[in-house]
Symmetry: C2
Subunit: 375 residues, 2 copies
C-alpha cells in the first residue's frame, strides 16, 4: 500500500486504496504525445471468476478520482465507489462475470503517476511525467488484460472519464470487446467542459505550494486542490438537487462573513477537504488534461474516425441535468455508433443529480446496465 | 480620478473609470448587518436633462464589475458598457430621459469600498469594511437621488446584480419608482449561484498575496483575482456559443502542456487578465457576498414579503441559456410581481449568449426595454 499523499490523518485513504493487486509492465511504454515511461504499474482489483472459456470478463473504467475499489472484497472490506452496482445479483453480477477494475495510469491510487519514482532519476516524476491521453490509459489496460489472459471482454463499461475510456477501447481494439457501455461521457470534450476543468487546474497551480509541481517531500498544495475540488463539485451536481437539499439554509449563527455562510458552501468545503488530502494534485492535472484531449471522432491510422470502428452492441446513458457532459453529448455518442449499423440502446434519465447520477441512481442506471450485460 | 488598483500599465482602467461626478454623503451610514461607514462617496454619471417636473429620471444599476460609465459622455468619450443601449434614440433614450448610473457602494470605481481610506484609521478599510447587502447599496443610491432632487424615478433598471438592486429599490421604496425593469436577475440567490460565486471568492483568498485582505501597498493578489474571473466567465456565457466560436480549436503548436492549449482556455485567460489588474479583489468579495445574501422575498418591517410592495408596471427579462441565473428564476420574479396585481411583461429570450445576453442582444433586450420605458 502506498503512503498517503499528504501528511496528517487520512481516515478515507485506506478505505479506497488498499488490498489491490499490481500489474507491473517492465518494458518501455511510449505515450501518444511522444513521451515515455521506462516501465509502469497498474493497481487493479477483481471480483468473480474468469470462466474456463475466458469469455465473461467485464472491464470497469473509473472516473477521474476513483480508485480500483469498485466494491468491497476480502482484502479491503470497505464499501467501494459502485458498491450497490457490482456484486452477486447486482447489475454487474459477479456471480456471472469476472469483473476487473484498474486505477488509471497517471493516477495516485497505486498506479504509476506523477507522484511515482522515476527509475531514471530516483525522484518523483512530478511534472516530468509525460502528457497522457485517454488512449494511453486504455493501452495500459489492454496490457493488463493480456497479463490476465483476457483476449476478449464480455463488455467494456465506464462513466464520465470511464465512459470515454470505454468508447476508446471499443474503438481502438474492436476485437477485444463484445459490448460497450458509456455513461455520462461524450465523443470528445467540448469547450464548456474544457473551461470547467481548466479553471480547476488553474486553482491547483495558483497554490504557492504547488511549486511548478515539485512539491513532493515539501509542503503539499492541498489548498489549491481543495478549491479545485470545490469548483469540480459545482459541475458534478445540479441546482434543483441543491435547491431541495440546501435551499438558503445558513450555517453558524447566521451573521455573514467573507467565508462560508450557507449550507451549500459548507457542503462544498466538506467535499474539497475530504478530497484534497488524499488525491495527488499532479495526477489531477494530468488526468484532467487527458479528458480535454479526448476525441474518439479523430481519425485513426486508416483515416476514418475511430468511433466508426464500434459495431458491437452499445448502451449509452445520459442525464438531463448534467451540466458537465450535457445529455446531447450522449445522444451524439449513440447516434454515431448507430450510424455504424450497431445495435444501440440510448437511455436519457430525467434525474436531478446531474453528472453524479451514475453513482447514485441504482434503478435507472443499474437496470439498463443489467439488461445490456445479460442480453 | 482614483489611482489604478494595481501597479503596471492598465490601458482599460481610464476608459471605464474617469470623468464621473462624486456624491459625498458626509454622515454616518449604518449597514444592514450592524456595521457602519463614517461617511461614503458614490461615483456617478448622468446623461440627458432632468425635466422641469423632475419626472423623467431613470436609474441604471450596474452588475458586479461595471463602473458608472454606461455610455460615452464629454468627460469620458470612451464607449461605456451599455453604449448601444443608452443614448439619443436608443432603447434608453437620453433625448427623453435623464439617465443616472452610479458605481456600487463597496466597489472600486470611484465609490467607497474596501480599498478606500477609513477616516478612523487613515488606512484602507480592507476587510474591516462592513458586510454589505443589496439593500445597503440601494439605500446609498436613494441618498444620491435625494442629492440630485429626484423624488420619483420614471424607472429603476438593471441586469444581473443590477436587476437585484432594481427589484430591491422598487420593493423598499415603492413610492420612488414608477416602473421597474429587472433583467437576468432573481427574487433571491439560489444555492447553485451561491456555489458558483463561493468558488470564485475561494480562488481570490487562495492567493498568498491576498494576506487576509491587507494587501494594499504590498503585492496585489492579481493571480487569485484572475482565476476568480476565469471561473466567473464560465458562468457568464454558454456552451453552445463557445462550441460555435471556439470548438476544439488549439492555440500555439498544438502540442499539449499542463497550461492552456485550447482557444477556449486562451479566451478565459484573456478575460481573467483584463480584469484582474483593474478590479479590487476585496470589492469582488464584498459585492459577490452581497449577491448571495440577496432575498427580496424576505419579510419587510410589516412582516410581508418585500416583493409584495411592487405594484408598478414591471418588465422582467430572462435568457434560456443562462446557467448563473436560470430563466425559471426570472419567471418567478414575474409571477411574484404579477400576483401583486401589477402589470408585468415577461420576456424569455431563447438566445445562446447565456447570462451576458443583456450586454449583447440589442434587439431582443433593447426593444422590450424601449417599449416599457416609453409606454
Amino acid at each position: 500500500m502506498p503512503r498517503p499523499i499528504a501528511d496528517g490523518p487520512e481516515p478515507q485513504y485506506e478505505k479506497v486504496v488498499s488490498g489491490y493487486e499490481t500489474f507491473h509492465h517492465k518494458d518501455r511504454f511510449g505515450t501518444d504525445w511522444g513521451g515515455e515511461l521506462a516501465e509502469f504499474s497498474l493497481a487493479y482489483e477483481t471480483w468473480g471468476e474468469l470462466s474456463p472459456a475466458r469469455d465473461n470478463a467485464i472491464l470497469l473504467h473509473t472516473g477521474l478520482s476513483s480508485s480500483s475499489h469498485v466494491r468491497s472484497q476480502p482484502k479491503n472490506t470497505h464499501d467501494g465507489w459502485w458498491e450497490a452496482f457490482v456484486g452477486p445479483g447486482r447489475p454487474v453480477d459477479t456471480d456471472r462475470f469476472f469483473v476487473i477494475c484498474s486505477n488509471l495510469l497517471g493516477g495516485c491510487y497505486g498506479s504509476t503517476g506523477p507522484s511515482s519514482t522515476s527509475p531514471k532519476t530516483g525522484e518523483p516524476y512530478a511534472t516530468d511525467f509525460p502528457i497522457l491521453t485517454v488512449n494511453d490509459m486504455v493501452r495500459a489496460q489492454l496490457l493488463l488484460l493480456d497479463h490476465l489472459g483476457v483476449e476478449r471482454l464480455h463488455a467494456t463499461v465506464g462513466s464520465s472519464l470511464g465512459g470515454m475510456q470505454s468508447l476508446q477501447l471499443a474503438a481502438v481494439a474492436p476485437e477485444r470487446a463484445a459490448r460497450v457501455v458509456s455513461i455520462s461521457a461524450a465523443t470528445r470534450s467540448y469547450p464548456q467542459s474544457i473551461a470547467m476543468r481548466f479553471v480547476q487546474r488553474q486553482a491547483v497551480m495558483l497554490d504557492p505550494d504547488w511549486q511548478g509541481g515539485r512539491y513532493y517531500g515539501a509542503s503539499f498544495p492541498h489548498r489549491g486542490q481543495k478549491v479545485a475540488r470545490e469548483i469540480g463539485t459545482t459541475t458534478y451536481r445540479s441546482g434543483p438537487e441543491w435547491q431541495e437539499r440546501f435551499g438558503r439554509e445558513r450555517i453558524g449563527d447566521g451573521v455573514p462573513t467573507l467565508d462560508e455562510d450557507f449550507s451549500i458552501e459548507g457542503y462544498l468545503v466538506h467535499q474539497g477537504e475530504k478530497f484534497c488530502l488524499q488525491y495527488d494534485p499532479n495526477s489531477y492535472l494530468y488526468i484532467s488534461k487527458a479528458m480535454d484531449l479526448f476525441d474518439v471522432t479523430a481519425p485513426g491510422a486508416d483515416g476514418r474516425p475511430l468511433i466508426d470502428n464500434i459495431t458491437v452492441p452499445a448502451l449509452v446513458i445520459g442525464v438531463s441535468s448534467d451540466i458537465l457532459f450535457p445529455s446531447w453529448q450522449q445522444r451524439e455518442v449513440a447516434e454515431r455508433i448507430e450510424a455504424n449499423g450497431a445495435e444501440v440502446t440510448f437511455v436519457e434519465i430525467d434525474g436531478y443529480y446531474g453528472h453524479d447520477t451514475f453513482m447514485i441512481d441504482l434503478e435507472r442506471v443499474g437496470e439498463p446496465l443489467r439488461v445490456h450485460l445479460e442480453a
